[in-house]
């Protein structure tokens, strides 16, 4: 293992521990013992098969969200709007599933719905890239704002076209079982969306380093002018990058709707986009690292929820843990830069003394 990789693992592990410790200390304000509460959190993850598998259930959308932020980030583009792309995917998935599920066989419904969600999410995201390419609009702002627009669109659909037949709450009718993503570990909620997410991470890894698009994408990210000089027209790449990111975000919505919730409810998964950014940063933008980072965040999520049920710790502990871990992970970047600096200096000194 190179010293760089060792630094990455050690500093990030420390960052996670410190982040958890910081949130644990705040539990003192609730009169809880941080150590025992945190141990309950982690112990409860292993209490039964169902709970343990739920970690991977929670990790599934997080992987898609991390990819949706991470892919444009590699090209120095900021997609802060993955949350909105997630909503667009969710609305498409639930709407189309409800429409098709009684008429065509289940597996076909799932394929059609998955593709359709990717297209609508991709168009929603691709629009950001297009505005950037055509009008030089700031993609950070546009993607940020597009989330709020998507949220209101979802709320509108839930209040009107997609509202349950009973007409009581802003939520849809449940999907019939044939339109659910199949579960591959019996006795749990772990659906094949998890496998799709892992494949997406691996796919992005391959795409990034092997395929011609990756070759184009990387120099573009590091320097637009270099890319231009090398004869690469980067504008279509903006659209394509954001289209793919949007499609990935929408896949997160699709797997949640057809794999877990089997319906769409107002106020659905509001923090998943921000968590995706945290995961991408924790993984240092590396798609394979995102798999593990997403599983970690999934575990925190499941543990935090159980902690709430068992000992009355409010669910805001999830945001606290996420925020603190992200903050310490950012500090870990600084520590790694310092370590690298120091090694560089030592090398120079050694070279000079010879």
């Amino acid at each position: 293992m190179s010293s760089k990789h060792r630094d990455l693992l050690v500093t990030n592990a420390l960052a996670i521990l410190l982040g958890l410790a910081a949130s644990g200390l705040l539990l003192l304000f609730l009169g809880k013992n941080p150590v025992t509460t945190m141990l309950t959190l982690f112990g409860s993850l292993f209490r039964d098969r169902y709970t343990f598998a739920d970690i991977f259930v929670k990790a599934t959308p997080l992987m898609f969200m991390a990819l949706a932020f991470g892919l444009p980030f590699q090209a120095n583009l900021y997609n802060i709007g993955a949350q909105g792309q997630f909503y667009i995917g969710s609305v498409t998935a639930v709407g189309l599933s409800l429409l098709l599920m009684d008429n065509i066989p289940g597996p076909l419904v799932l394929v059609v719905v998955a593709l359709a969600s990717m297209v609508t999410g991709g168009l929603w995201g691709g629009l950001i890239g297009w505005l950037k390419a055509r009008f030089n609009a700031n993609e950070f702002l546009v993607s940020m704002m597009s989330t709020y627009v998507a949220l209101n669109f979802m709320n509108y659909m839930l209040r009107t076209f997609l509202m349950e037949t009973k007409g009581e709450y802003p939520q849809t009718d449940p999907l019939v079982k044939s339109a659910w993503l199949p579960i591959f570990v019996p006795g749990t909620r772990l659906h094949i969306g998890f496998i799709l997410a892992v494949l997406a991470c691996i796919g992005e890894r391959v795409l990034k380093y092997r395929k011609p698009m990756g070759l184009k994408n990387r120099p573009d990210g590091q320097n637009k002018d270099d890319a231009e000089q090398a004869g690469i027209n980067y504008k279509p790449l903006y659209v394509m990058t954001f289209f793919i990111a949007g499609a990935l975000g929408a896949m997160g919505g699709f797997t949640e709707v057809n794999g877990v919730q089997h319906m769409l409810v107002q106020g659905f998964n509001p923090g998943v986009g921000a968590a995706g950014i945290g995961i991408a940063i924790l993984a240092n933008g590396h798609p394979i690292g995102m798999i593990f980072a997403a599983i970690l965040f999934g575990a925190l999520n499941v543990g935090g929820t159980i902690m709430g049920q068992l000992s009355g710790v409010p669910s805001s502990i999830n945001d606290l843990m996420l925020g603190f871990v992200m903050l310490f992970v950012i500090l870990a970047y600084f520590v790694r830069e310092r370590l690298e600096d120091r090694r560089e200096k030592a090398r120079l000194k050694k070279a000079a003394s010879i």
């Binding site: 609730l30 702002l141 704002m145 209101n152 669109f153 709320n155 805001s316 925020g323 600084f334």
Partner: protein, 294 residues
């Protein structure tokens, strides 16, 4: 309704002119709104104490952000996202710690509106501009002051120069990082007040969704206002009108158009304006940490 947006976008002008984006703005708004409410509520409705607490919360949050982004040279957008999540967690968590799960909604009497004599009786504008609370009136001073400080004083020249060419500023004896940190702290004070406007200046209550992306709108107004105090003033007025219109349409029942469209209107407007804005006056090194050679 434009008051907090103007506090936010004006503070963003200071910060970004010096080369630092304040992407923690949403979190600072939230911290200000929460701290202001808690102090006001616990002191039995003392709003000045609330404002003070909001300012302190704003400074602390901004200091954390500034330390990481300016001194440790870490990524500004990513750090901002982390601080915004943390602010959400901290406010929700301590709201629960302090108040438990309240049976009745917690309310303080918000800042009173002070109609200015004579001026407030001018038709239409009088009500909009001269029948407001103290925080809005303070802006009548802060906006021209920002213009004066940034473009007519040597401090302003220093701020602008390190946003354009920090190396040259450094050679000329400006302590780049320290000055940037100062502008971020100033932004913390102003955004703390801006956040408090939502809780104790207007609604008299606090929820964790009280800011709901308005920090980002203030952030956007700074871009749209071309990094100029006068520009953000115009931008804020446009947004204030859009929001007032949206609220009016919602309360009337908009008929054919869904309410959600009006709620989303300020966000759609931001996208449209971002797209249609042509000549940008972006500080040259915006978002880039200053690293000394050697």
């Amino acid at each position: 309704m434009g008051t907090p947006l103007l506090y936010g976008s004006l503070s963003e002008v200071y910060a970004e002119r010096s080369g630092v984006m304040n992407t923690a703005i949403e979190g600072i708004f939230l911290m200000g709104a929460w701290a202001g409410f808690v102090a006001a509520f616990l002191s039995g409705g003392n709003l000045m104490l609330g404002l003070l607490a909001a300012v302190i919360a704003g400074i602390l949050t901004a200091a954390l952000y500034g330390w990481i982004c300016i001194y440790l040279k870490q990524h500004q957008i990513v750090t901002g996202v982390a601080i915004n999540i943390l602010a959400l967690g901290i406010t929700a968590f301590f709201q629960r710690v302090i108040f438990g799960v309240p049976v009745t909604p917690l309310i303080v009497q918000p800042l009173p509106t002070i109609p200015l004599p004579i001026l407030s009786s001018i038709p239409v504008i009088g009500k909009i501009l001269f029948n407001q609370n103290i925080l809005t009136y303070l802006l009548f001073i802060l906006v021209p002051a920002a213009n004066f400080v940034l473009f007519k004083t040597s401090a302003g020249l220093s701020i602008r120069s390190i946003g354009e060419n920090p190396e040259a500023g450094d050679v000329a004896g400006i302590r780049v990082d320290r000055l940037r940190f100062m502008t971020i702290l100033l932004a913390g004070i102003m955004c703390g007040i801006g956040g408090a406007f939502y809780s104790i200046g207007f609604l008299g209550m606090f929820t964790t969704t009280i800011i709901g992306g308005r920090g980002w709108i203030a952030f956007a107004i700074c871009f749209l206002g071309n990094w100029k105090p006068a520009g953000v003033l115009v931008g804020t007025l446009v947004f204030g009108l859009a929001e007032a219109f949206a609220i009016l349409m919602q309360s009337r029942g908009a008929g054919f158009f869904p309410n959600e469209l009006f709620i989303a209107l300020p966000y759609i407007l931001t996208i449209v304006l971002t797209v249609s804005r042509k000549s940008f006056n972006v500080p040259a090194v915006l978002g880039v940490p200053y690293r000394k050679e050697g």
